[in-house]
Subunit: 399 residues, 2 copies
Amino acid sequence: MPDRARRPDPAVVEREIARLRATGLSKWTTYPGAIGSFIAEADFGTAPAVTRVVREHAERGDFGYPARHHRQELARAARDWFADRYDWHVDEASVGIVPDVLASLRFAIAHLTRPGSAVVVPTPNYMPFLRLPADLGRRVVQVPGHRGDDGRWQLDLDGIGRALDDGAGLVVLTNPANPTGTVHTRDELRALAALVERHDARVWADEVHAPIRYDGAVHVPFASLSETTARHTVTATSASKAWNIPGLKAAQTIFTNPDDLDAWHGVGLWTEHETSLLGMTASTAAYREGGAWLDDLVARLAHLRDVLVERVTERIPAARIDRPQATYLAWLDLRDIVGDRRLGPFLRRHANLAATDGRYCGDAFTGYLRLNIATPEPIAVETVDRLADALDTLPGRAD
Amino acid sequence: MPDRARRPDPAVVEREIARLRATGLSKWTTYPGAIGSFIAEADFGTAPAVTRVVREHAERGDFGYPARHHRQELARAARDWFADRYDWHVDEASVGIVPDVLASLRFAIAHLTRPGSAVVVPTPNYMPFLRLPADLGRRVVQVPGHRGDDGRWQLDLDGIGRALDDGAGLVVLTNPANPTGTVHTRDELRALAALVERHDARVWADEVHAPIRYDGAVHVPFASLSETTARHTVTATSASKAWNIPGLKAAQTIFTNPDDLDAWHGVGLWTEHETSLLGMTASTAAYREGGAWLDDLVARLAHLRDVLVERVTERIPAARIDRPQATYLAWLDLRDIVGDRRLGPFLRRHANLAATDGRYCGDAFTGYLRLNIATPEPIAVETVDRLADALDTLPGRAD
């Protein structure tokens, strides 16, 4: 019998859900009434500096074209953030501005890889990375990773090597990893770099979750490993995840290969042109003035992570879950319970819970589930309880 | 001797420029100290409904991913605007959301034209349209138009026909025309449609300036001409120009060919994903609630247009300028004064005026100049006076 005494007061849960739905966030309005756990938005607003900047635009009536100085200020703020937080030192001129990391990936595939070459996507991974290459006429080679004994997910370097042997031109590295929350160590990254270098291939490194790390985990930018690695890497990052502003549409691509930067200046500036003004100025404010707010957020998320992991352990003992080292995502292995059932529709119907079916993170991950832990504690607990209750209804699981 | 008695008070001009620079608009901050007339931004802010929506996002802390309902609401608001203002009736589902019209053009070229086919750009035209096709590996065929006896610029249909004979696959129609302000009549558009149809080619119609028309000029959406025309056309428009919100990054692509819509659903949705949330909600508010504000703006712009045209006629009699039927741009033929001089750098240096050299609107238009009339009256007058004074300094023009 689960510990129902500690279950959150339903009135509190409903009040919190109603309050969050009123924010208008996609997370709470896409599946009305359900707990929204399917999208990487946080329920804690954004830094006051970001809100202030947006209000100032409204006061000045300035919603015009971004100017050169807006781009420069964002490039400088990002550069300084990398230096301060990751000890990574890049030139301001190497920071390109894009609407989001997908625009960065699109540019990298279209302009920086061998024509027609396949794209290696280690799985599980962020869902759109599995689909976008096909829209550019490129094949995706999914290479499932494995969970190490330490509960951290690892890349399958042999599998990646085979894909590169077969002619793949680009490896999509997501570090910290979405959805597993692994923060790759310097040694792990070096092994990938050596492999890629041997194959004369490229790495596109998505480091958008890097600001959200726990327990002192150190973020090593892939391109910072060595001069050689810098040359085969294109890095994408953004303030969107840490400061909860994905709808403002601004991200950064860091070009650590001078030829890539030339290609960007030749054809990439149209993509820069699609970045919103408020995305640029809000991101600048986030990097410049949002550090303390972020540190408080990360402390809060670390607590919520512990709450959610403990609740899963208690209520769903047959599930496997590890504490993520980074991101506000949790990755549950429910295969022992659900087999190869489609989890997404089942949970929307039977748990009033909208979460990400693992198979969207990779073909090999049916029976896994991605949850979002960046939500008030009663909802985090209720999320697990609804999941547990729905799983209990499955045939063969009656108590 | 020019009429210096009516020249605006320099203190008023400087105060206005300082006030506008404080808005942060690109127009006033890119060339500090200069009069900004080089970019299609207006100096009159935006509709209160737009500002309110942005403030509400800040209050709710909602800068999250756009949701389905945000896209739907914008599609419906745009559809209703087309019906109310242009008597053009399209299905909500045919309205795709994109960051800006360039993203729409990029999609049209990449996915809706014959691979490798050239792009016809009638000139003079909006500067980026001349450059973007090349970045997709496509050749641009510039087809210069001509000024009719009525002072309205016309397409060179024979020239466009020759380009289509040579295999070009797409015609870029800008209507109302930027920079000439011509509003094409139904008969003029029908002639283009017949030509394109004969060649089995496509039209991408940029109608972003349609809300800003004067003297009762009627906007005929190109795709509304006939079922046949609808099928060979893709239309792009946006609230960005009329409501002065280009930095919020939202535009619409209207697919009136079902196959195009299928292609969009297949690969275009990544582009939709790059559109900002605030761009969507602000544009929805503009279309739904911004009509009266826009009507007042257009009345104000009509007056400023007359002021500027009269001042040019008075101060620079050797220039040729016509009253635009639409847009807040003015198109000056200064060839009799400047010959083939590069106007842009000359005017920045000698007139403290940043304006668009006509050659950026087309190779045939050296000696032309594009000005922006959406500025307070003292600045509009001062713009012409600075231009006139600088032209007076040219060799052979001493009074």
